[in-house]
Symmetry: C2
Subunit: 413 residues, 2 copies
C-alpha cells in the first residue's frame, strides 16, 4: 500500500471519529494498554531483530539503548496509554458563544485536527505515545518511524490496530508506514489532501528537512539553544546550582542549558564559582575575552559557539554590560525554546519575561522544567519552537482545532 492510500484510508475514518464518545476512546486506550502487556514476548522478539540488525549495521551503544524494548519499557508504554485515557477529553469544549440580534446562536468548540502525520527516528516508544495522544484527541494518525525500528514499530502498530478493532474502531485510525525509504517521508510532506498537520520528531536534520520541504502545515519541534542570564543582582550560589542542573542533569535534551550570559558587574565574583561547580562534571567552558579574564577555567569561544546546541558537556559564556544587551544577545541567538534569568531584581525579572522571545521564560529556576508533565499537561507530543498553533510543550489540547456551529431558523443576510 502506498502512503497516499494510507492517507486516503485515514481520512475515511474521520466521520467515525467525529462521532466517537470520550468513553469509547478511553475504552480503546485501555484495550491497547492491556494488549501491549499481553504481547510483551511478541514485541520483545520483534525488537530483538531490530537490535541485531542495528548491531550489524554498527549502531552505537546509545542508539541501541534507545532502540531496545524490554518488559519494563513495554509496561511503561501501556501505563502511558492508560494515563492518556485518564486525562480530560480535549474535544467538544465550548470556547465561546455569541448570540446575535437576528437570533443566530454561534458556538465555537474544539474538534480534532483530523489526520496527523508523525515522522520520527529511532525510539519505538514514540509509536505508542503518539498514537495514544492522537487517539484521545480524536485524530487519525499516520506514523512513519525510522528503518532501525521497523520490526518493533510494526509489532506495536499491529497490536494497537487489533485493539482498535476489538474496541469497535476502524483500524486505520492508527497506521504505520511500512516503507521507510526517504520517498515515503517526502510523500507525506506533500499529502495536503490527506494530512492536516505533520509533526517531525527527531534530530536537527530531520526537522530541517520537514520544515523546508513540506507543503503540509508543520509543527516544528525540538531544537533548543537555551540560555541562562546571570543578572548583576543574582544570588551567586543559586546561579551556580541552576546552571549546573540545567547543563549537566541530562545533556542530550532540548531544554538543557547551552549558553551562559553574565553581567560584567558580577562576572569576577560569579564566574569562578559557577565554573568550579561545572568542572565537577568536567564541563568544557568556552567564553569571550572578558569571561576568559574573569576565570582561568574558561577557554576561548568563537561566534559559532554562541549559535550551537552542543547536547554535550560544553557551555558557552557571553559577557554583557546591561540586561538590554543580554536580551538582545539571547533573542539573536536562541532557538526560542527556554531561557532563564537569575536575579534578585523584580524589575529586571519582569523585563526579561516580557522581552525574551521564547516559548518558556524562567526566573530563578532551571530550564530543564520545560516539559509537558512538569507544566501540568499530563503528557506531551513534543515541544514546539514555532509560534503558530502551538508553542512550548504540546499536550492533547494542541492536537485539536476549532469549529463554529451556527444554529438558525431561516436567517439570511
Amino acid at each position: 500500500m502506498t502512503v497516499f492510500e494510507q492517507g486516503k484510508n485515514a481520512k475515511q475514518t474521520l466521520t467515525f471519529m467525529s462521532q466517537v464518545t470520550t468513553e469509547q476512546k478511553n475504552n480503546a486506550l485501555g484495550i491497547i494498554a492491556d494488549m501491549l502487556e499481553e504481547n510483551i514476548e511478541k514485541i520483545v522478539s520483534a525488537n530483538a531483530v531490530d537490535i541485531e540488525n542495528g548491531r550489524k549495521n554498527g549502531l552505537g551503544d546509545g542508539l541501541i539503548d534507545r532502540l531496545m524494548l524490554n518488559a519494563d519499557r513495554i509496561k511503561a508504554m501501556a501505563d502511558g496509554a492508560r494515563q492518556v485515557a485518564s486525562l480530560p477529553d480535549p474535544c467538544g469544549r465550548l470556547l465561546s458563544e455569541y448570540k446575535k440580534d437576528n437570533g443566530l446562536d454561534i458556538k465555537k468548540i474544539t474538534v480534532p485536527l483530523g489526520v496527523i502525520g508523525i515522522i520520527f527516528e529511532a525510539r519505538p516508544n514514540v509509536t505508542v505515545d503518539a498514537a495514544a495522544l492522537c487517539l484521545k484527541s480524536g485524530n487519525a494518525v499516520i506514523l512513519r518511524g525510522g528503518k532501525e525500528a521497523i520490526n518493533s514499530n510494526t509489532a506495536l502498530a499491529d497490536i494497537m490496530r487489533e485493539a482498535l478493532a476489538k474496541a469497535g474502531f476502524p483500524q486505520d485510525v492508527i497506521q504505520l508506514v511500512g516503507d521507510t525509504s526517504r520517498q515515503s517521508a517526502t510523500d507525506m510532506m506533500n499529502m495536503n489532501e490527506y494530512l492536516d498537520c505533520l509533526i517531525p520528531r527527531g534530530g536537527k536534520g530531520l526537522i530541517k528537512a520537514v520544515v523546508e520541504n513540506s507543503t503540509v502545515p508543520v509543527i516544528e519541534t525540538g531544537s533548543g539553544n537555551c540560555h541562562i542570564y546571570v543578572d548583576e543582582s543574582a544570588d551567586i550560589n543559586m546561579a551556580a546550582n541552576i546552571i549546573f542542573n540545567a547543563k549537566t542533569q541530562r545533556i542530550s535534551v532540548c531544554n538543557a542549558c547551552e549558553s551562559l550570559v553574565i553581567n560584567s558587574k558580577i562576572i569576577n565574583k560569579a564566574l569562578p564559582i559557577i565554573a568550579k561547580k561545572l568542572k565537577e562534571k568536567d564541563v568544557e567552558i568556552r567564553g569571550d575575552e572578558r569571561a576568559q579574564k574573569a576565570c582561568e577555567l574558561v577557554a576561548p569561544a568563537t561566534d559559532e559557539d554562541f549559535a550551537t546546541e552542543y547536547l554535550d558537556y560544553i557551555i558557552s559564556v557571553k559577557t554583557v554590560d546591561t540586561i538590554d544587551e543580554a536580551i538582545a544577545h539571547i533573542n539573536a541567538n536562541s532557538t526560542g525554546h527556554s531561557e532563564a534569568i537569575i536575579t534578585e531584581n523584580k524589575e529586571n525579572a519582569e523585563k526579561f519575561l516580557k522581552c525574551i522571545d521564547s516559548s518558556s521564560v524562567y526566573v530563578n529556576a532551571s530550564t530543564r522544567f520545560t516539559d509537558g508533565g512538569e507544566f501540568g499537561l499530563g503528557a506531551e507530543i513534543g515541544i514546539s519552537t514555532q509560534k503558530l498553533h502551538a508553542r512550548g510543550p504540546m499536550g492533547l489540547e494542541q492536537l485539536t482545532s476549532t469549529k463554529y456551529l451556527i444554529y438558525g431558523d431561516g436567517q439570511v443576510r
Copy 2:
C-alpha cells in the same frame, strides 16, 4: 532596501513591541486614523496614478472599482482603525496557571506572534486594515501588495509610518515592500529567520503559490466551495430563501453557496421551487441525472462542477439518498469553509454539525454569515480554511501566540 533587510528591521522592533501598553497601541491607531483623514487629498492623488496605469494596462471595471480610493473609502479605513483600537487587547491574557508542589508558579499567557508577512492583491484598503490588526495585536507587519496599487499603498504606508513616529513607535513596525516583483514574494516565503507567519490574501493562484512554496508557516485563507444540504425534512420555502441568499446576495465572496445537495425523497417537490427562485437572478443550475429529471430548469453537471468554486451565477446540484451520503459527498468536495443543512430533524442537524469537516457549519441559516464581524470578532484579517492555528474567521486573537512564564526561587530538576 531588500525584503530581507526589511525583515531584519521588523524583527528589531519586537523588543519595543513586547513592552508596549494597550494605551500606547490605541493612541497610535488613533493617530493613524486622524492622519489618514488629514491626508485624503494626498492619498487620492496617489491613487489616481494607479487608476490611470490600471486603465492603460486594460484592467476591467471591477478591478478598477476595487482599486479606487475616494474620501468615503479613506474615512472608512480610518474608522476601521478606530474600531480596532476599541477592541480588547488580545495580548497578556492569562490562559492557565499551574502551581507545582516544588513552589514553581507556571503561567501561560498570550503574546504577539512577532513579525507577520501579508501578501495581497489589488485592494489598497488591506494595507490599513491589516496593519491596524497587526499593530493592535502587538505584531510588526511586512505588507507586500500588488503592483497595481503600489502608489496608493506607498502613500498609505508612509502616512501610517509617520503616525507611528508621532506616537513614539519605531516606524518599522509597519513596512511596505516597495519591490512588487515576483521575487520579493518568493523572498518573503523563505524568510524563516525574520517572519513568524505569512498570510496570503487574494485569489486562488496566489494562495496556492504561497502554500506550495513557503517554508515560513502559512495561514491558508479564502477558497470556499460551500454546500447547502436540503434534508428530507426541510422546510422547502426556508430552503429556497436560504439558497437564494447564499448563492446570489454577493457572488464573488468565499462564503457564497456553490453547490446544492438534495435528498432524493424531497427532490421532486423541493427542487422546482428552489430552481424557480434561483431563476429570478438567472442562476444557471447544473445537476446530476436525478436533479435533471426532477426539474426541467436543471442542465447536466460534470464531476468537475462539484469541485468548482464558481464565484458566479452558477450552482451545482447533487442528489443523495441519505444524510450519510450527503456528508460523504460534502467532505469529499468542500474546501472546509462553510456548509449548511436545511432540516426540521434535530438528530440530523446534530449529525451534520458533528460530521461536516468545515470551519463553520450551519443549521437553517445562510453560509453568508461566515465573517469576523458577524461572528462577534469585531474585525477579521481573513478566513482560514486550514485547521492549524486558526480556523474560520480570524480576528485579533488569532494574531497571537502563547508563552510560558515560570517563577521560581532556585528550583532545579
